[in-house]
């Protein structure tokens, strides 16, 4: 289901499954409340400035930082690959799978591997693959895509999860959350111990030290990157940080923005495969730098700022549009505010239409973004481009043109004002498409008996 289906899909979801709205609203507001509290405990504005500027710096010299990161990684025994898109990523992974004889893989939650369709690819290679993040595991069982960057299963109620686990893991119909989690733990523990391959993303990659940084709360990422003999990390080229010390701010900012915690419960700082003398750890570590539209985004001087994003999900939680439906109707890996501006930057405005219209421009997202991405400004930018490049319905363009013509002629404006009062039925019409879009779900509009500009004539000489 492509982004184009958003209007239909969002309507269908709201009408058919109102419980999704309830679950998502509750979870997102909970996240947002924690974020607000957590922001209040630290010098947040200075941190946000620092983070935005640091990311902007890296992006402005990304070629240099990529080369530096690659050199450090190679020195540490990491095999570095580059993938332009899903095909490259699949080819690279396919070679590793064959060479290492991989039969079972565990996956640690990562949005990039979602972008690249890694699960489906591995399945096509006869590799059994398991999502190990509890939320991802839930939606894997439900065969759904993630609905939120940080909480992939926030659209699922406890009852739904109970039913799902009862069917797949044989837990009792009324199992407590603890029992459900324990069942998932047992099921996945076996797979962790047997897996040949661990697949992860990367929250950050420090160029000066070649450190791959992963943040989580469950421990599944640490397990996925520690137990299997091969670890493959897919890292977006925009994930680089210049200095090891930059992590001191980014680790805290990410956690506070995402869930309101001081730091993720488990932070992995990985610098290569197992070293001599170490009791365990993967024997091979591959880092795959992925483009998949990022260089195109970078080339756009206005829109490139989306590449600062650290995928904290704070903008989703703050977004009242997102909260009504969760991520699914957006039809893109990333949903909510960041999805609305990432989609056109990565896929182009045509492919992403009309996601950047799915916003009232209320500005709640920009208020919370830890790296200060001006999302409403970017939405306007893409809307303007879409209009300029003729991506909108011709009907809309002529309507707006006529409207503008009327509005620069005060006499035309006043005539329309009179007409509206002569034919009051128009604003309550159930048949005129634009009016109907209003009246179907709301009472019809009732203009004041006389417009203000007429009343003015009576009061202009009052005392």
């Amino acid at each position: 289901m492509p982004p184009r289906a958003y209007p239909k899909e969002s309507q269908a979801l709201l009408e058919a499954r109102p419980e999704v709205r309830e679950s998502v609203t509750k979870a997102a507001l909970h996240f947002d409340k924690n974020r607000a509290r957590a922001y209040g405990e630290v010098p947040i504005e200075a941190w946000r400035d620092f983070a935005a500027q640091t990311k902007e710096h890296v992006l402005s010299r990304l070629d240099r930082y990529l080369e530096e990161a690659e050199a450090r990684l190679v020195e540490k025994g990491v095999t570095v690959h580059y993938a332009e898109g899903p095909e490259d990523a699949h080819r690279i992974l396919g070679e590793i799978v064959r060479k290492e004889g991989v039969r079972l893989a565990v996956r640690a939650k990562s949005m990039l591997t979602e972008e690249l369709g890694i699960n489906a690819f591995l399945a096509s290679q006869g590799v059994e693959v398991w999502e190990t993040d509890l939320g991802e595991f839930i939606i894997q069982l439900a065969e759904e895509p993630p609905s939120h960057i940080v909480g992939p299963a926030i659209h699922k109620s406890l009852e739904e999860i109970r039913a799902l686990f009862a069917e797949h893991l044989g837990t009792p119909e009324d199992a407590a959350p603890e029992e459900l989690a324990a069942a998932a733990r047992r099921f996945l523990r076996e797979r962790f111990l047997k897996a040949d391959l661990g697949i992860s993303g990367g929250n950050f990659l420090v160029a000066e030290s070649g450190t791959l940084v992963l943040v989580e709360n469950e421990g599944n990422i640490r397990l996925s990157t520690s137990l299997p003999r091969v670890h493959v990390a897919f890292v977006g080229i925009e994930k680089l940080l210049p200095r090891f010390e930059d992590l001191s701010v980014f680790l805290q900012l990410l956690a506070r923005a995402a869930t309101g915690q001081p730091i993720g419960t488990f932070v992995s700082l990985i610098e290569g495969p197992r070293r001599p003398g170490e009791p365990d750890g993967p024997e091979a570590l591959h880092v795959v730098f992925v483009d998949n539209g990022r260089t195109a985004a970078l080339a756009d001087e206005r829109a490139h700022v989306v590449l600062r994003c650290i995928r904290c999900g704070a903008c989703l939680n703050a977004c009242p549009v997102y909260r009504q439906t969760g991520g699914h109707p957006f039809g893109f890996v990333y949903s909510g505010p960041i999805g609305e501006v990432l989609a056109p930057a990565l896929l182009g405005p045509k492919e992403a239409y009309p996601l950047y219209h799915a916003s009232t421009l209320c500005g709640a997202c920009a208020e919370v973004c830890p790296v200060r991405i001006p999302i409403p400004k970017l939405l306007l930018y893409w809307r303007e481009r879409a209009a300029r490049e003729g991506l909108l319905l011709p009907f809309e363009k002529s309507l707006v043109r006529a409207y503008a013509e009327a509005m620069v002629r005060p006499s035309a404006y006043r005539l329309a004002s009179k007409a509206m009062r002569l034919f009051p039925g128009v604003l309550k019409s159930e048949t005129l498409p634009l009016v109907r879009a209003w009246t179907r779900l709301r009472a019809g509009l009732e203009p004041s008996p006389r417009p203000f500009h007429e009343l003015w004539e009576e009061i202009k000489d009052e005392g």
């Binding site: 009408e15 549009v321 500005g363 503008a404 509009l445 009061i459």
Partner: protein, 241 residues
Amino acid sequence: MKVALFATCLLDQFFAGAGVATVRLLRSLGVEVDFPRAQTCCGQPAFNAGHWDEARKMARHTMAVFEGYDYVVLPSGSCGSMLKVHYPELFEGLGEEYQRAVDLAERTYELSQFIVRVLGVEKLGDGLKGRALAYHHGCHALRELGAEKEPILLLENAGARIVPWEADRECCGFGGVFSVKLPHVSVAMADRKIDTLPEAEALVSTDAGCLLHLAGRMKRRGKPIPIRHLAELLWEARNAA
């Protein structure tokens, strides 16, 4: 001090009384108010939908209409931010026109901010004693103009009690064209506002669009509470004194 009232098209058509209230309120504060008759729409609907050529056309018209006034006052946060924040963006890089946009932006104020920041008035009167009001912070008033404290200050200083409302800063879902482009999401957002709305004798806001949308939805759901434009209440605050 020569002040022009920009009534904005929605208020002109749907809240004419709030326009009258604005004029009387400002006059009672010693302000000479004019209403340039050529004014129409600020162009925000076109701007937000991406039709910037058309938006520029309307903005040029509006800039011409309000030439020569010391201040332009709007009983609206949304249109206020269009003039104050987005006109300069719209004419960025266009030399002389950009200068005119910046000049207009500097002279433009949302009503409550004009009263508090320019006139330095924080108490209008006692006309709202004992009134329990729910206040909806329009997004552009709140986040683009920073008009968070002024409306509340003026209402409370006139004796009104602003009832606590967990969703008072959340977007109502109007969003101009958004309300008809994505009507289902739009009303779902309104429903969140309505479902959390505490008991109050009226729902107040400085933005006509939000009020129309919320009122329309409340009426459709058969759960209406009166809606009032901020300007009307501020005039009541003053007038009853």
